[in-house]
């Protein structure tokens, strides 16, 4: 079941999707999502598109972009793409374009593990690159999800990284 669909491409590697109107699971900051082979991370939640853009939105599209009354609960999610997970395995540096209306799904536990396993070792090599862009908090929240899929062996490392990210928040 899709979480929603892409409503805006902000830049290479950044897009916004709108959550489906059903009562299914709502994404959170730190939720790993996928659009085809592209793996992304929810890094912010918004009520609507940016106010200053409203005058430029064509009328026929306004239904999509402008929040209705019932749309005020944060239904727009900004995503930073982290890389790709294809049959060949994970690639934390790949930059593949996504398109408007592409469906956005949550990443399952198994794929999450696969995406984070490079040469048999646990890696989240996008963290350092994304911190300056999105701030440490979304990355910190992401590591909490990773905790669940990383074995105990990696616990001390994830703890160190979390301490480091928390240090950056302050």
């Amino acid at each position: 079941m899709a979480l929603g669909e892409i409503v805006r491409i902000e830049s290479q590697g950044r897009f916004v999707f709108k959550a489906s109107d059903d009562d299914g699971v709502k994404p959170e900051i730190g939720t790993y999502v996928r659009v085809g082979d592209v793996i992304g991370l929810v890094v912010d939640k918004r009520q609507s598109v940016r106010e200053e853009l409203i005058p430029y939105i064509p009328t026929e599209m306004s239904g999509k972009y402008l929040p209705y009354g019932d749309d005020l609960s944060e239904n727009y999610f900004g995503v930073a793409s982290l890389g790709m997970l294809s049959g060949a395995g994970p690639d934390h540096e790949a930059m593949v374009s996504v398109s408007l209306k592409d469906a956005v799904d949550e990443v399952g536990q198994e794929d999450l593990m696969r995406f984070h396993t490079v040469d048999g070792r646990f890696k989240a090599r996008y963290i350092d690159r994304l911190v300056p862009e999105v701030g440490p908090t979304p990355m910190l929240l992401a590591t909490r999800r990773l905790q669940n899929v990383m074995g105990d062996d990696n616990a001390p490392m994830i703890l160190a990284v979390q301490r480091y990210l928390r240090g950056l928040v302050r």
């Binding site: 989240a124 001390p156 490392m157 160190a160 301490r163 480091y164 240090g167």
Partner: protein, 535 residues
Amino acid sequence: MTVLGRVSGNDDETFTFVTPAQPPAGEFVSFPLNDGRTCLARVVCSTPLATFPNEFLYDPFLEPNECADFIGMETTPFKLCQVESKVVGYFDEAFGEFVDPKVMPLPGTPVDFASDELVSAVNKLGEEEPGSAFVGNVLGRKTLVSLSVKDMVSQHLSVIASTGAGKSYTVGVLMEEMMSDKNQAAILVLDPHGEYRTLTELANHKDFASAKYRPEVRVWDPDQINIRIADLRFSDILAIMDDGNMSERMIYFFQGIYREVRRRARADGIDITYAALREEVLAHCDGEDDNAKTYNAILWRLAKLENPIFDDYQHMDLSQFFRPGRLTVLDLSGREEFYQQLVATVLLRRLFEARKGTVTGKYTSESTGDQYIPYPTFVVLEEAHRFAPQNGEAKSKAVLKTILAEGRKFGIGVCLISQRPAKLDQDSLSQCMTQITMRIINPVDQNQVSAAVEGLGRDLLRELPGLARGQAVISGIGLNTPTMVQVRKRKTSHGGMDIDAPIEWRNYSESGASEAQEDSQPDVSYLEEDSKDWF
């Protein structure tokens, strides 16, 4: 050409380069100049290019590199060093010295370890050449280091370090070199601890004696060293007599006595003697009046000249002490500091007079015997702070300062050795144009050294506490650039051996001497019966 690293930038005084190696401070590196010449530089310090976030280090079992790689941090900078370096210069063959190119290397310029050939240009002379003193090798390299004896002797030498760092040992090495065939020096060592006596081994050592040359080493025992009364000045005698409570009146009266005795001695063409002074005082001692009392007080103070170190006729014969190819060691061990100073004062004063007189033609071979010294001389002063203290008086300070300032003109070189540079007269220290500085821990002493030793940059000063025994920073005119040196092994044995207390204690026990001592119970027969229980 190999490349050690690449220049990353510079400030006014230093440039930095980045390298996977970790060159130690003091190491020599080089880089090419635009005109094709190679410029020598000295490493000031190496620091890692990047440091880990502290949080990666909280858990000692965790590999921080692993954490960094986990989040995609570039880990290469943690393995690279940023090396701050100071330009020495390119070697100008024509001038025989390093010339500052006055430009800093541009970013990206390749830097390499300096070739042994370039590093050996720190020497003014090759180690076998006449006039050289081979002292060891550049720290961490095989390149040999030789000092220029000419510069050391004409503009003095200082050897400064904390106790036990290897000062006396190093001076021993220098003595060996200076006494060898290639130098044949005329040296006198004032040895307050009797630790230079072992240099007598020089005379029969195959490395120093040859068919046509054999160094001579003469050691004078403490009781063989005399000061002739006539070599003392009025103020010297006064200093010997005055225990701090000599009144103005006594000084005035004694001055009269001294003048009278001197006048008569001069008229008769003889030396002032203790006997003559005493006789003259005695002549005023009769009677009950105040004057007689004063003369009596002078008389018993004058008796201090009865110390066996003073003699009416025997004296330190300069021409015996100083002769090319002869090393004279004056063993002053056991003598009070005051007398050590007095010996130094009289000796240096007479030496200065003699050299000045000889150079200016006042003394010739036919005239005054022991005053004629027709060759330069080198005087080694151990515990130099005793002879030229920074604070307080020493009889020897004035003459020592004169020699340090003017010795160059008259060919008297001085070597000042001290473990307390802060107590050594700053002026005197700064007159020593070649400096051997070894481990110094005390910050006060470090500051004194940095103030007095111009050539020793802040970078090398910083290394002083970390030097091991026998390692030295040699700076000044004896070399072309300040260099960290591992001092070579002595060929003769070292006299100032450390005392190994546990070994000596055990040897004592094993020798059976301890039992012998135990057997001799204290004699308690004179004690009251009941108090004998105490023993």
